[in-house]
Every structure is written in structure tokens, then in C-alpha cells.
Amino acid sequence: MITRPDDLPEEELLLSGTRSCAGCSMSLMYRTAIKALGKNTIITVPASCLTVLHGLYHKQSVLVNVIHTTFETTAASASGIVAALEALGLDEKITVVGFAGDGGTSDIGIQGLSGAAERNTNFIYACYDNEMYSNTGTQRSGQTPYMAYTTTTPHGKLEHKKNIPMIMLAHNIPYIATTCASYPLDVFNKFTRAKQFKGTRYIHVLAPCPPGWGYPTHESIEIGKLAVRTGIFPLYEIIDGKMFLSKESEPYLDPRKRLPVADYLKKQGRFKHITQQHIDTYQEYVNGQWDFISKML
């Protein structure tokens, strides 16, 4: 576990010249995550912003092996890779990772993910959650939060986010973690820890998206931190079924320490239209989420 930015490995596996948008927090997170995963990693990626990020021949921006798969098949593709590496006796040397967006994880890809987790396939599945289909121009996904504007929820989404980490918990997998792109050390530590387990490991990363969420590009880190400080996005690990709150989120177990959700919502264009009533509903939802977490601890 590292505690200072200086402790991050110096070698960059994600190079400059990615094709991501200005202020993309996913690319920052990805840079840190693959530092933790190391060079001997095979990453399988479905249709998503991450596919775009990797660049076009001959300007590839990544130094690990990446295979692009169809939208619904991240975990299925990983299953095949893992099985082949095991058959070839290479599985001890190489880490297999499925890296998908929130739509690719919680909507179209959940069947493959559930199947792979049920077989306890030996791989890490990472979901970078920008809470919408950002790559096709910001449509709603199962991870879009309550009242957020997207092009297919023009009056705000009526449903809350789907709780994928809890769905993964129901699969009895050895390691589950949530993290946020605003906390690179937490990202690094959780990917490093995930590597130490065998079987299916799931990491859910909140990745604020400036064009999709409607805030200035320099505020990505701030927005992600607010998601944690308001308690909207709790950071935790679940190891063999036992939940541990991460130190970034620990203070917010106490409701008095949580910032009001409005502090987070009002900074983003996608929540521009919301009323006090919506804010209250949102706050209640967040409080309920923490009641649940406190029972899990």
C-alpha cells in the first residue's frame, strides 16, 4: 500500500496523445490503474470511451496488451483469455482485466459479468462509471443517478443508480472495491490489492465526465471528491464478504460530517433543473445508502 504520490511507479504505461476529452478523469484513473497492474497485463475492452482513448494506429497510447471486444462481452472475452492462459500455463505470469464503462457493465454486459463471476473466473473486472453512455453522446445508463439529465432523460432520470457492487457481492467473489478517479493513491492501492487475489475481482471506479456532466474541465478532481464527501459515492472494499470502509469515506459514516448533496448537484449542468424536493429525495437516498453500509460493516 502506498501513501504518497512519490511512491507511484515512475514508468508510464499510458502515454501522452490519448484521444480522450479534455479533463477526462477516466484517463487519469486508467493511467494509475495500469501502473498498479503492471506490464504483464492483458486488458479486454468493449465499445466505450476507453476504446477511443487507446488511439489509432500508429499512435497507440498504451503499453499493455489491449484487445477490443464487442459491447456485451467484456467478461466473456476475459473468460476465454483466462482459460487459454491457464491451458498454456501462462496464467501465473499474466493478469487479465476486463475494463468496461458503466453501460457496458450494468446494462448490456451484466449477463457476461454474472456468468464469469459465477464461475469465479480468475480476472479483474473494472467498471469506470461516468454514469452515462458518454461515448455515443451521453444517453442514460443503469448507472445514471436520479434526476440527471442525459439526452434520453430530458427531464431527468426518475430512477436511482443500479448498485452493481452489491450485485457482485451476491456472486460471492473474493474482492470487491469502489474507488474514484479523484483519489489516485486509492485507485493504485485497490488495483494492487485486487491483483493479490485469485478468482473474480470487481472494482467500480467513479469517473466524472466534463462534457456529460456539465462542469468546467479543470473541475474533474473536485467533482469526484465532492461525490465522496457528500457520501453519494462511498469508497469501500469487500474482502471475502466483509466490508471495510476506505479512509477517504470513513468520516462520512457520521451523517453530520457529510456535505449536503446539493453541494455536489449544483456544480453540474446535468442537475440544473432540479428542485428542492428532488434534492431532498436525493439526500434521503444517500442517507439510506449509509444506513445500509453501517449495517454491512
Binding site: A47, T51, H68, T70, F71, E72, G103, D107, I108, I110, Y133, T136, G137, Q139, R140, G142, T151, T152, T153, P154
Partner: protein
């Protein structure tokens, strides 16, 4: 509840994006349910319908994937709604099983395929007419589909209305094949008045009385009759409604009885080609070089014919407005008097194979393939010149 006044756009000229014109055509045709999933370059269709459809009393759902999207459409159609989805090539691939099922159950539905480059992910914002076979052959089993290939935003509006009518009349999966350029083109579209639109639209027919004879949609002798689709919740819905070959009572048939229902699924389209197929002829009467084209490519070919005529080359255009069912007989008669055929396509030459089936063996045929971009008129004209020189 239906809000009639909001369903129709104000009559007159509007500048619309192709994908929006297509969506408005669907609205005019009586669309009540849209189930979709985001995919470039079709996403503007759901983005438009997400607010347009509910304000007119219809329902919109963004589903969790393309399988869900097409099945929600099939479900809505059986429940009595005019229903559609919009997608692109990879989405159509995922929908294949249900399209086959809908063909077997004769569920009317419309699929707008805004084609992009493939195979695989391809170049997502580049056009490529590479789904012209997929739309017909992707699903298992033998069945027929109807596919329209518009070439302008106006046609995206007009032909989408026709596609809905064809789906209702022939009870089969019906496609509107757009592409990444056409879907994103902005052009003036003349919208007719609500009264004019209503006259064009074929409404969903519902069997109004228990009539076992009329309902025997898989027992048609002689002239093929296509009875209305059974609608859930109406008194005349069959006991079961399945995608296995079945008799008039909805009960599956044996191996020795399966020929008839399967044949009818195909023949209801193939025996009605003359009614379904839409084609256009331009300067064909004395044409020595016949250009055969469809979709956005055909639009270029009108210009190519004009340019060729200026040079004294007797070229003509036979345009397929519908590409499926393929009008074999019409193409046969069009090419009969020609000296050469030129088939420009925005692919490596897919429908050229169908043209080949219609032409005398010795007649020369030139493909003009183009991928991920629209033809320059000069590219086609050069082939027309070459054809004329080789076969004066």
C-alpha cells in the same frame, strides 16, 4: 393517451437532420412505441423520439441492450402498437434472432438501420451499405423481409411512412436502410398536412369478430391472403402465439405439415413483389449503359447520367427504392436491351450479385465499389465511359 394534435409536425418546409426526418416519418405513420439502445450513428433517432413520442401519447423506453430493444418492439407490436427501433449494423446483428422470430410469428415491426462501416466495430461515423444482406439473411430460417433504401431526408420521412404501411400489410420485419451520411445530413423536408398524412397511413387492423376462417393466417390457399395480426387482449387472440410452425389454432404442426406454413412465410412476399417493390427509371428508354443503384449512391447516379448524356453516352439509371424483395423480373427487363451494366455500390458489390442473377450470361457488368464514403460522380462516370468503349 393519444394527443392527436402533437403527433404531426406543422405542415410546410422544415430543415431536418436525416435521423430526425426518419423519426418524424415514423411519428406520422402512427408510431406508438419505440424501444432502442444508443449506437452511433443512429442515436439521434431515440434522442428525438424520447420527447416527441411521449408528447403525442406514445411510449419510449431506452432498453438495456439491442436484444431487449427489439424484443420490446415485438412485444409492443403484439399488444397492438405500431412499434419500431433504430440501430446500426452491430445492433442489427444482436437483433437477428428476434427478427427471425418476428418473421415466423408475422409480427409487424420496423427497424431503422443507420448503416456504418463494418465488419466488427468498423468506422462508426462512416457510411457503408454493408447491411443490405444482413437485413435479409441475419436470422435463422427461411423468411422474407421488406427493405427501403431512401436517398434523401425527404425520402427518410416519406419512405418510413411506407415502411410502416408495408409492415402492417405484409406482417413482416421491415427495414429503413439509412447510413451514417444520410442520417446526419440536414436538408429541407416538406411535411404534408395532418389530413394528407392520415390518408397515407395504413392503420393496425384488428379482427373484430371470432372468425376462425379469417384467422387462419397459415392456411391460405390460392391467392395469398394476409389476415390482420392477432392483437393481445382482443377476443380473437389465439390460445397460444408461438414462433414454431403452427396451424390456424396456434398449435405446433408435425414435420409432415411444416412445408405449408414455411412456404407461406416466403410466398406472401415473393408472390407480391410487383406490389411491394418500388423502383425508379431515369433515361432508360434508349440506354445502352444501365446503372443500377440504391440509397445515397443512387442520388449521385442521377447526376452521372446527366453528365454522361452531355458527352453523348446513352446512360440510364434504374434505381431500387426497395432493395428487398429484389425485383428480379423488373431488372431482367431493364437490362435486356442494354450493352453493359454498371453497379455502383457503397460496398464491395453485394447487390451486384442479385443483378447478376437477372442478366444474360454474356452481358458485361462493372462493379464500382466504394467504402466508407460516397462516390464522386467522376468515379462512376469513368466506369460508364469504359463500359461504353469496351462494348460500343
Amino acid at each position: 393517451m393519444e394527443n392527436e394534435s402533437k403527433r404531426y409536425m406543422a405542415p410546410g418546409k422544415h430543415v431536418l437532420m436525416g435521423n430526425v426526418a426518419m423519426a418524424e416519418g415514423a411519428m406520422a405513420a402512427g408510431l406508438t412505441f419505440f424501444g432502442g439502445y444508443p449506437i452511433t450513428p443512429s442515436t439521434e433517432v431515440p434522442e428525438h423520439l424520447v420527447w416527441r413520442l411521449p408528447e403525442a401519447g406514445g411510449a419510449f423506453i431506452q432498453m438495456e441492450d439491442e436484444l431487449a430493444a427489439i424484443n420490446s418492439v415485438a412485444g409492443a407490436s403484439v399488444a397492438g402498437a405500431k412499434a419500431m427501433t433504430a440501430t446500426s449494423g452491430p445492433g442489427t446483428s444482436l437483433m437477428a434472432e428476434t427478427i427471425s422470430m418476428a418473421a415466423a410469428m408475422e409480427i409487424p415491426l420496423v427497424i431503422c438501420d443507420v448503416q456504418r462501416n463494418g465488419p466488427g466495430t468498423g468506422l462508426v461515423t462512416a457510411p457503408h451499405h454493408n447491411d443490405v444482406f444482413q437485413c435479409k439473411y441475419s436470422g435463422n430460417g427461411e423468411y422474407e423481409v421488406i427493405a427501403y433504401a431512401p436517398m434523401s431526408c425527404q425520402e427518410l420521412y416519406d419512405l418510413t411512412i411506407e415502411a410502416f404501411n408495408a409492415a402492417e400489410t405484409y406482417r413482416c420485419p421491415t427495414y429503413v436502410l439509412s447510413d451514417a451520411y444520410l442520417g446526419h445530413l440536414h436538408e429541407p423536408v416538406v411535411i404534408p398536412t395532418a389530413e394528407e398524412v392520415k390518408k397515407l397511413v395504413v392503420a393496425r387492423a384488428i379482427l373484430d369478430k371470432p372468425n376462425q376462417e379469417k384467422f387462419t393466417f397459415l392456411d391460405r390457399e390460392g391467392n395469398i391472403q394476409i389476415p390482420p395480426a392477432p392483437v393481445l387482449g382482443t377476443p380473437n387472440f389465439p390460445t397460444t402465439f408461438i414462433s414454431q410452425p403452427h396451424g390456424p389454432d396456434g398449435i405446433p404442426v408435425n414435420e409432415d405439415q411444416v412445408l405449408k406454413p414455411n412456404t407461406l412465410l416466403v410466398e406472401k412476399i415473393t408472390k407480391n413483389v410487383e406490389k411491394i417493390a418500388r423502383t425508379e427509371a431515369y433515361m432508360l428508354d434508349d440506354a445502352e449503359v444501365v446503372i443500377i443503384a440504391y440509397g445515397l449512391t443512387a442520388r449521385v447516379c442521377y447526376h452521372v447520367v446527366n453528365l454522361a448524356r452531355k458527352e453523348g453516352l446513352k446512360a440510364g439509371l434504374f434505381r431500387l427504392v426497395t432493395i428487398w424483395p429484389f425485383p428480379y423480373e423488373r431488372v431482367k427487363s431493364v437490362v435486356a436491351g442494354a450493352k453493359a451494366i454498371v453497379v455502383p455500390e457503397m460496398n464491395l458489390g453485394l447487390m451486384a450479385g442479385e443483378v447478376e442473377r437477372c442478366k444474360p450470361l454474356a452481358m458485361p457488368m462493372y462493379k464500382v465499389p466504394k467504402i466508407a464514403d460516397i462516390h464522386e460522380p467522376g468515379e462512376i462516370l469513368a466506369v460508364v465511359r469504359k463500359a461504353k468503349e469496351a462494348h460500343p
